[in-house]
Amino acid sequence: MKEGLSRELIALRIAKELRDGYYVNLGIGLPTLVSNFLPPDVHVTLHSENGLLGYGRQAEIEEIDYDLINAGGMYVTLTPGACFFHHADSFAMIRGGHIDVSVLGGLQVSEKGDLANWMVPTRGVGSVGGAMDLVSGARRVIIAMEHTTKTGEPRIVKKCSYPLTGKEVVHTVVTNLAFIEVTRDGLLLKEVAQGVSPEEVQSVTEPRLLISPDLKEIEL
């Protein structure tokens, strides 16, 4: 199978979805990279579950404040206008629909938009963190993930076999191969990575994809 986009390019594509003035929560891993690719004229404020609005880039060693991390545990810097609040207020922001976009990693996404991203069943225990709150509260949920597992199994499936994070919660999936919207009628393939055909995307996707009449190549 083709490799398609790198992790950085997936992040770059997602960054284009963010609009000036948005409040955004970025999950651990790939989603964190999104903040590196914002256009200079787009001012986005980053929210972190542990009670922080307006954090900036990762801190250089000499800038580290041991009381200042984001929810991924990274030492970060502040941007002007940042502020702090407690955990209940932080999740009031999330649950109350004040976060414009939540970008999360995924293990599986179903054709109805169910998400599984917090536990590999074989381990028997997993850390859900704030993911269940984010998917039920954010206005738009974008999942960033590899299109298949390391062994080539589809991650976009008819029904998730892993424990769910949320039911019918995903709006958009961006993978190394494709940009897909979850619609009422099913999964709509809107964009493909350069050099990848819709048929190739379908061949590694379990449910039947709807092909957008405006299908295009992912612009970077």
Partner: protein, 228 residues
Amino acid sequence: MNKVFSSVDEAVADVFDSAVIMFGGFAEVGVPTHLIEALARKGARNITTIANECGVSFQRKAVHLGLLVGNHQVKKMYASYPVAASAQQQSAFEQQYRAGQIEFELVPQGTLAERIRAGGAGIPAFLTPTGVGTVVEKGKQKMTIDGREYLLEHALKADFAFIRAYRADHEGNLVYRRSARNYNPIMATAAKVTIAEVEEIVLTGELDPEAVVTPGIFVHRVVEVKKR
């Protein structure tokens, strides 16, 4: 009415077996490490913990709540983030959980925070969309409002809250530093006895009334510890 204690050991001296205890902190930040160490020294058993995590290990050495779990002082844990993402190095919690030696309830992070706030605010239960359609809904009452399903989640309260703050005055008013605020202010409200370890105790009147985060009404004991 003196809230200032001279040592963490004195501050936790009356923690009893089977106590329910909340522990502030998120990852390494805002954790009441000195109080936890004091409780490890004291040795109360069959503790129930309510915290974001279940304790971690670094280079096989348990720290924070891991210290209490490693000592077999813990009977049950509530957490949103019980284990590290990597399954490589198992925490004391994960080992005991696999061995059936410790009870565990997974609570989504926002639900955990809200259940604690509810405990402090006299709200016995509330509805939330979080967890509908997942393992979290097991055993919980569901209600539908305006066509959307919600879970009825119950308040959490504790016998003790162990929290960490930046500064306290003699009335127990607290301020925090940066993201070390996290769970500490809400846990302060939800326990019969709230014990705060702080970096500095200042005279009453020295904290800006507009900037106090935890009003002293919620804090029963404060103890100064050295900055980590």
